[in-house]
Each structure stands twice: as structure tokens, then as C-alpha cells.
Symmetry: C2
């Protein structure tokens, strides 16, 4: 296997959990530590003001807080908790820096072509208008750049400490009356309204990433490292299938066809398994978000992991509730089931100032009886509409309920730290 | 510029048409010939039967017709009409061959793992079930493979005749009670119902393809041929912009940000212009479908053109009408406007056996008065529900109305041929 490509086969394979009565297990015994992380808090953006002189030093930072936003994030690690911890401690700072770099454009009626406000070409506003560029696009661009920057930080830190691994990243930002949701990986955010439940993110999974990775393997057969076949089959083929016409699909196909099985088709398939058990190249890492810098095709800039990112943004109504959770939750509950739990709990608990936190207690205890496999799950529920951003609660399953109404701590983000659990 | 990459800059640039009174113009004077093609007819699929003995020769073709489908297609050429003519004469044969290769699987209750029906592994049906593979997926796979095969034929033929160019491809197939729509490029099909209008295809345009091409240019800077800059700006930058912070976006961004302009940013931008006037790498070709084999990144398998393809399929209702058209139509009319024209014309002309043909006459003459720029447009309207597949009409604008109820000609596809027009 080439030096630039080190695949950890089987590292993320699902196993049947061995449950002993009276013993609590972590993440279906798939990992030694809880690899989920959460972070939330206030996002204070300082103003970048234009200097008096338009020279190379025309940007001066003014220390006063200018815009305030709110930030919630979940990170589901794999291959160890390092990447998720780094992301929980870093991403909000990257985002703040990126927002501060464009904040003058964000508060303008229309982002100016030049950040200095100087008009080089009289029809510049018209060019910006025709491209349909709005202030919201600068927030989306800042989120996209923050993910990139955070990923680079994680890459450097992990390399320096000789660690590997990666994590998903699901981020919700409430800013200037709008909610932005950015996602890389298979966590999910939903919006719960009285008579509507709407997904706020789309997931990257081995199945959604299949064609992209097959296409890369078509261009770079080195990616298959002599171990995998590029084609997808309903199951791994064996000697008895040789010469038969079997169902398959390649990078250009969403549909299926038949092909005559050759010896090279008997290798390990690039995509293996179905649904949430599916793996690409035998690992989860290629369909996740941050980190995993070891997964790079030899001597190229091509990264296997997905980057980025759907960033829907919407104006919130007063009673809107947002639930964000890692895949451990969505494995056992549908969007509609979660929405029903929220709708049945919140109205009867209007007076409880910690209701967004205590929600996770009774509602979840009830659920637990139905579930045998306790995969790691972390979830946040909040009501981010103006003036109520501080109402949120966090669940870290098998660690008990943590979190509660957050405090405004300026630029400090209170990170929900992992708690050691005896196993 | 490298030998594998020959970009025709400006070849597809939009120009202001010079309209002389009393003179008819072709395609806003952008091309010498009409580059649109259409093809429609019956698709007769023969059965591939299993031989008595399971040896290497177990497939024998039985000459009888087995399944009958219906086929409509539009091709919008660029860089000359050659690719569109080849596609109109070839794609249906490719599709028939691909369907015949899998037809046994298509008529089974569930496509078998092995086309021979032999069960190598007892749980094979379960693997197929878990992957969710249905008979429809074989039709989608056949369409995808037919596009690939047709593209290879076009590549060979154009190379042999020393020609270049490419075309969009929009194909509707009605088979076993279902409609399948496959699209590469910026043509569009819509479904018109009494109280609903629904797009049946999604378009590939310079704007939808922007991130993919920027990503390729990030990996292969050779693609930019020293002439282009990878970044998108609201307009082409000039000397006065140097050192200023201007709006831009790169391959990982759907949003926008600001960057300090360097000298290399002053090159021709990879994406230029807005909306339907937008060009990628100065040409339309990279966001279209078939042909354009000269657009290939040096010494790699990477093709710039988009391949493939959204293939929605749906069960039709009796009164459903489908309208397919090249971009010339959608430039001047919205989906809703076309749906209104259809709904206002058809009910009053129930008795006219040629109503799907004559629709294009009065409805379109009325439209023409409103339009000055007469871009080439080709459109088909049909009602493909069972038993009424033969009701269709075709418009080739500025060539007058051609087509009419088609005849069942077995495997022959009556192609609407281009008609020379004096200019």
C-alpha cells in the first residue's frame, strides 16, 4: 500500500454487542472512549473597520463587539477521540475569524464588490446584483472556510502528535435572525414545528459518497491498493460466481446492470454492506468530515473525505425547536418520532427553565427500555429564535444528562467535555 | 496549450443579434446551421432466452419482439451539428441493445443476483432485497450505459471524420407503464397535470457545474492552460483591482468571501457571465453531455463534460402531458407559462387527431410576437400514458412545424431531420 494511503480496514466495522446484565457498555463496544463531542455558546464578532488611509494597512481591528451570534456543534469521532476534541475546541474560533474578516460586507445592504467600499468600476453593484450575492452568502462562505481552516489545524495537530482519526461536524449558527446549518458527515439536524418536521442538513454516508469514490478509483486505480474492486455488487463475490452475469454498478450508474464476473471482481468491494452498516474502502472515514489526513491519494491534492457541505439557512419562527444529533440517535429514531417526543414534552413544561435540558431525562429513559444496542449518541435541542437562544439542552447517552442553559461567556465557548465512564 | 486539451474560446459566446427587418435569422446568428435534432419512435426489445445448457453460450437471442417501449429524444448541438445528428441516429439503438441485455431481469418480480437465474448463494435474493434493487433500476442502468456507449460511438465517428463538437441529450422512455427521463445538458422536460407542473429533469449548466470544474482545476492546474484563473469573481478583474479585497469563491464554496487580488487573478475567469449566458472555460461544452472528446485533461481519464444524469421515473396518469424542449424555449418561457399554454389549448381540441402537433402552431405564433431574439428551439409534447403514446407533436422553431402522430415502424426510429433554411 502506498505511503500516502493508509486505510484502516475493519476499524469501524459494526460488531454484535456483548451485553452483560448490570454492565454499561460504550458505543456498542466499538470503541474504548466516547468519541462524540459537543460545543455551544455565544459567538462575538468584532468589527473590522477601514482605516483613514487606503493603504496596505487599511484594516484595523476595533476591539468592540459588533455582532453577536450563537453557535451549537456536534462532532462524532472515529479512530479515536482526538479529532473530535480538536474540532470542539477550534472550529468556533475559526468561524469567528472568518466572520470578522467579512463582517463589513455582511452588514451592508448588498455586499460590495470591494470590501473597502471603493468603487473601481461604476457597474460593480450591478455585477454583484446579477450574481445574486447576498449578505447570507458571506456567512455561508465563512462557514465553509472555517471548516477548511479547522480541518487544516486538525491535520497539523494530529501529525505533530502522531495521531490519526477524524470526525463528523454538524454546526448550527444563529446570526442576524437567521439559522445556518452546516454539515459534513452523517449527523443530522431537524427543525420541529407544530405541524411540520423538516430536515436541516443532508448526510454524507458511504452510500451517498459511493459514486464520487468510484469515480476517483476510476481515475486513480492506486486508491484500490490492490485490495479492492471498484465495482459495487450486492454481496462480495466468490469463486462460484466466476463467469456468471451478476448485478453490479460502476461510477456512472445510479441504476444497476449485469456483468460477467472476472477474477479481479472477487476482491473486496469498494462499498460493502447496506444502510448505516455500509463501509467505503472498508472504513467509515471516507464518508466523514474533518481530519483523516492520512486518506489522501498518492502524490495528489485529492482528498477522499467529503468536503463540504449543505448550508441551508432559514428565518425562524418563535416556537421553532431544533434538534441536532449524531447517527446513534437517528439509527433508532426517525425525524417524526423525535418530533413527537418534543411536541409531547415541551408544552407541559413551559414553566421549567431547564426544560430543554430535562427533556432528555424522562423522554430518553423511556426510550432506553426499547433499545438493546446502546450506540453512542449525542444530541442537542434548542430554540434559537431571537431572545431565546440560551434555551438548550444536551444529551450524552450513557454519560447521563449534561449541559443546561448556557451562559454568555463572551468569546469563550463552554465545551461539553467527555466524562470518563468505568467499563 | 497541451495536446489533449483544446478549448475553443468564444466559440459559444452569446452575441447581440443583428436583426434586419424581413430577414429570418438562425439561432441569434450564433451558428450557420440549426444544431438541434429530435428523434422519436417505438422501441422494440427482443428477449434474451436462456439456452438449454448452462455453458458459455447460454444466452441465445430469440428474434421475437418481447417488450415494447416508446422513445423521445432531443439533442442540442454545439460546435456544429455533427454530434447531435450522430446522437439522434444512434442513441436509440444503444438503448435497445442495453435493454435487451437485461430484459430477463427486468421482467422478474425482483432482479435475480445472477441473470441465469442460478442461485449460487442461498441468501442472494436477500442481498438484492437489502440493496433495494428493483426492475426499474435495470432500466435506469440501461439508460446510463446507453449514454456511455453512444458517447463512445460519437467520439470514434468524429475523430474518424476530423470533426469536433458535442450536444445535450434529453431522453424520455415509456416502458412497462413507467416514464423514465434521462438528461445531460441544459434541455428540460416537464410534466403538465391539471393542477400541477413538475420538472422531470435537472439541468447541467455552467453554474451547476462550476464547483466540479473548479475542483478539477485545483487538482489539475494544467486545465487552466495558463489562460484562466480558477476562482470565480463577480466580473473579470483588471489592474485597478490589484491589492483590493474583492468578492470571490473557490471550489469548496457555495457562499462568497473576500480575497486580496493578486496578479494571477487578473486572468480570464473559469466561470464568466451569469445565468444562461454563463460560460465555463470560455465555452459551453464543459457543461453539456455527449461528444466533446477533445475536452480531456492531459493524460488522464478525467473528462470535463458532465456525465450523467438524473433519471427520475414515475407512473403516469391518463391525462398527463410531457413537454421536452431545448434551452431556446426555457430562455423565453417558464415551466408555468408552458403549462398554461398546454392547459388552455388541449381541452378545446380534443377531437383533433393532430392536436399534439397543431398545438405548436397557434400557441407559438402568438408567442413569437413577443420575442425579438429568435434562438433556436426544439420542443416535443406528448401524452405517453398507455395506449396514447403515438400522440405527440414536435416544434422546430424557424423551420416551421414538423412531425405529427408517429407510426409504429418496428425498430426504425423516424428522426426529425434538419431542414435547410435560407439566411
Amino acid at each position: 500500500m502506498g505511503q500516502g494511503l493508509r486505510l484502516r480496514r475493519g476499524g469501524g466495522q459494526a460488531r454484535e454487542p456483548r451485553v452483560s446484565p448490570g454492565r454499561r457498555i460504550i458505543n456498542a463496544e466499538k470503541s474504548e472512549f466516547n468519541e462524540d463531542q459537543a460545543a455551544c455558546g455565544q459567538l462575538c464578532i468584532r468589527r473590522c473597520e477601514f482605516g483613514a488611509e487606503e493603504d496596505q494597512e487599511w484594516l484595523t481591528l476595533c476591539p468592540e463587539e459588533f455582532l453577536t451570534g450563537h453557535y451549537w456543534a456536534l462532532f462524532d469521532g472515529h479512530g479515536g477521540p482526538a479529532a473530535a476534541i480538536l474540532a470542539a475546541n477550534t472550529l468556533h474560533s475559526c468561524l469567528r475569524r472568518q466572520l470578522e474578516a467579512v463582517v463589513e460586507g455582511m452588514v451592508a445592504l448588498q455586499p460590495p464588490m470591494h470590501l473597502s467600499g471603493r468603487c473601481v468600476c461604476p457597474s460593480d453593484p450591478q455585477f454583484v446584483e446579477e450574481k445574486g450575492i447576498r449578505a447570507e452568502d458571506l456567512v455561508i462562505g465563512a462557514l465553509e472556510n472555517a471548516f477548511q481552516e479547522c480541518d487544516e489545524v486538525i491535520g497539523r495537530e494530529l501529525e505533530a502528535s502522531g495521531q490519526v482519526g477524524g470526525c463528523t461536524a454538524l454546526v448550527a449558527v444563529f446570526l442576524q435572525g437567521k439559522l445556518y446549518v452546516a454539515n459534513a458527515g452523517d449527523s443530522r439536524a431537524i427543525l420541529v414545528r407544530k405541524d411540520e418536521v423538516r430536515p436541516l442538513s443532508s448526510e454524507f454516508t458511504p452510500e451517498t459518497e459511493r459514486q464520487r469514490i468510484q469515480q476517483l478509483a476510476f481515475v486513480y486505480p492506486e486508491l484500490l491498493a490492490g485490495e479492492f474492486t471498484r465495482l459495487e455488487f450486492p454481496r462480495r463475490l466468490k469463486g462460484d460466481d466466476l463467469g456468471q452475469k451478476v448485478l453490479f454498478r460502476d461510477h456512472h450508474m445510479r441504476g444497476w446492470s449485469y456483468k460477467c464476473v472476472e477474477k479481479s471482481d472477487l476482491k473486496y468491494p469498494l462499498i460493502h454492506g447496506q444502510g448505516r452498516q455500509a463501509r467505503l474502502l472498508g472504513t467509515l472515514a471516507v464518508s466523514r468530515g474533518l481530519g483523516d489526513h492520512q486518506l489522501r491519494v498518492l502524490d495528489t491534492n485529492i482528498q477522499l473525505k467529503p468536503f463540504l457541505l449543505s448550508v441551508p439557512q432559514l428565518e425562524l419562527q418563535e416556537e421553532d425547536v431544533v434538534v441536532m444529533a449524531t447517527d446513534g440517535l437517528w439509527d433508532v429514531l426517525s425525524n417524526e418520532q423525535v418530533a413527537r417526543l418534543v411536541r409531547s414534552f415541551l408544552p407541559g413544561n413551559q414553566e421549567d427553565p431547564h426544560r430543554y435540558c430535562s427533556f432528555w431525562g424522562p423522554a430518553w429513559c423511556q426510550q432506553q427500555h426499547q433499545e438493546v444496542v446502546m450506540a453512542e449518541k449525542t444530541a442537542l435541542m434548542m430554540s434559537p429564535a431571537q431572545g431565546r437562544w440560551s434555551e438548550w439542552g444536551c444529551l450524552k447517552l450513557l454519560w447521563g444528562v449534561t449541559g443546561g442553559p448556557s451562559k454568555s461567556l463572551g468569546l469563550e465557548i463552554p465545551t461539553v467535555q467527555p466524562v470518563a465512564l468505568p467499563c
